[in-house]
Symmetry: C2
Subunit: 320 residues, 2 copies
Amino acid sequence: MIDPVFLDTPLYRCEALEPALGCAVSIKLETANPVRSFKARGTEVVASQLAEHGSRAVVCASAGNLGQALAWSGRGRGLDVTVVASRFAPAAKLDRIRALDARVELVDGDFDLARERAAAVARHDGIRLVEDSLDLETCEGAATIGLELVGPELVGPEPVDTAPSFDAVLIALGGGALATGVGHVVKALAPGVEVICVQPLGAPAMTLSWRGRRVVTTDATNTIADGVAGRRPIPAVLADLLLVADDAVLVQEASIIAGMRMLLDHAGLVVEPSAALGIAAILEDRDRFAGRHVVTIVCGSNVDVDAYHRWVGPASTRRP
Amino acid sequence: MIDPVFLDTPLYRCEALEPALGCAVSIKLETANPVRSFKARGTEVVASQLAEHGSRAVVCASAGNLGQALAWSGRGRGLDVTVVASRFAPAAKLDRIRALDARVELVDGDFDLARERAAAVARHDGIRLVEDSLDLETCEGAATIGLELVGPELVGPEPVDTAPSFDAVLIALGGGALATGVGHVVKALAPGVEVICVQPLGAPAMTLSWRGRRVVTTDATNTIADGVAGRRPIPAVLADLLLVADDAVLVQEASIIAGMRMLLDHAGLVVEPSAALGIAAILEDRDRFAGRHVVTIVCGSNVDVDAYHRWVGPASTRRP
């Protein structure tokens, strides 16, 4: 059901990053596609099923990437797409959603308020609500990344089981679709690979929930990593995460920016803050990863250009 | 013979670029691999053959990317690799070649002087000289990009011939390996697709040769596109190029920088100047491409970070 343009994404060692990180690092790159994030793997599944069942419309709340992906997947299948987002979401993300012919509705609050509003729209209009991380399709889509990381290799006519060459995978943790989807596959097919979720200190709700084994909400978020900034973990997603995550760590904003800059300077990759969480985690705990081989999923590159330049530009122009 | 990490690279529409360019644009991305350019497709072929025949050493001249690729391919096969380069080559490229355990010899001149020196090393040491664009392996490697663009699609058990959705391909033109390799495949399998080579006005030797149908050399080059800056076209490569190129165009430095900036701002891609030649060609001749669907091969991303920031940074920090 997933357009091949979103599948079999690059996976490669990036040795230029390694001297500074003290471990072997491989990149799983989810940005070289029409929506510049991994989210279309899930929206392709959702939109295919809706189109098959004759649906005409769909709504979601989004920090930006899910909305862009749903707009892309819906447009190709004749679906009317509505995306509810925070008015504080990056303009670049909102502009791309509109350019893909979706209707954007902004709420004067954060992502969790957008979720409430999207649910209301769905009830009122009688249309399908796509709930990121709760709806299994969004997790299954992300899980295909896991299959590409640890699944049987297709060499010759028969699939061949090969042990992955890496021993840990670093996954950005927001609502949990990416972490539970990839984590489920990794734990099923390569249980020896450590599944480490990474979240900003400024948006720690899911990590605190994972640590406490019960839902912990927060009053606010304070992070540049807009893609993972939620306050209210979904109980069912937490339950899944407890089954598949080996650890959940929190990182500082300065480490996220340092990670973005390293990916630009040494890997030639533009990434959004959420996609630098894995590198940030290595930077904050080099001893843990020393000598190991780590995969980090570079999950999105949708940034506002001006903010990006402020974060990663030459020292003379960097602002706090 | 080619490590799969270099094959089946992303090919995708980039709609965010299209309003400014006035045509449909697809990206063939050759930067998301261990050497950040397409060159390893060719060096994998060369190094495989050398290893098979028991060779222990190899030398090439390089503007930087071929050397890095040969170093990578040779290291994995136990070959001693020597790369001769101009001392004006980007430090980032030279550093990466050294980091891959190759010996770097610098000449106090440009790429064409490095070619002479590499030939002397090969004669003196009795080892294989890899001549970019002249040696067919380097063209065949590049040609695999063409197969991925216009070759039969593997959907289901049998390959299926499908007409490509695009009608022109824009190819950076330097020594000619990329242009003749990709051009040969495109003209053989999809003769209706226009093959357009793009070179900087500041390094026009091959384009002038193509136009004059005889080798034209120049005294100097003056371009930031270090990857394609040659003065002395190779006659046999020109002969091949005359068979497969529909056009060869020259673009200004300002257009190359504008192309790099557009790829960063609208596609989230870091590219070296040579990889922006295709976008530069569209910018300089919008009428020619209006309403068409164009593929541009983003052939490399090895840039010096400081130079890159100068070229594409925020307006306040841009220097001429």
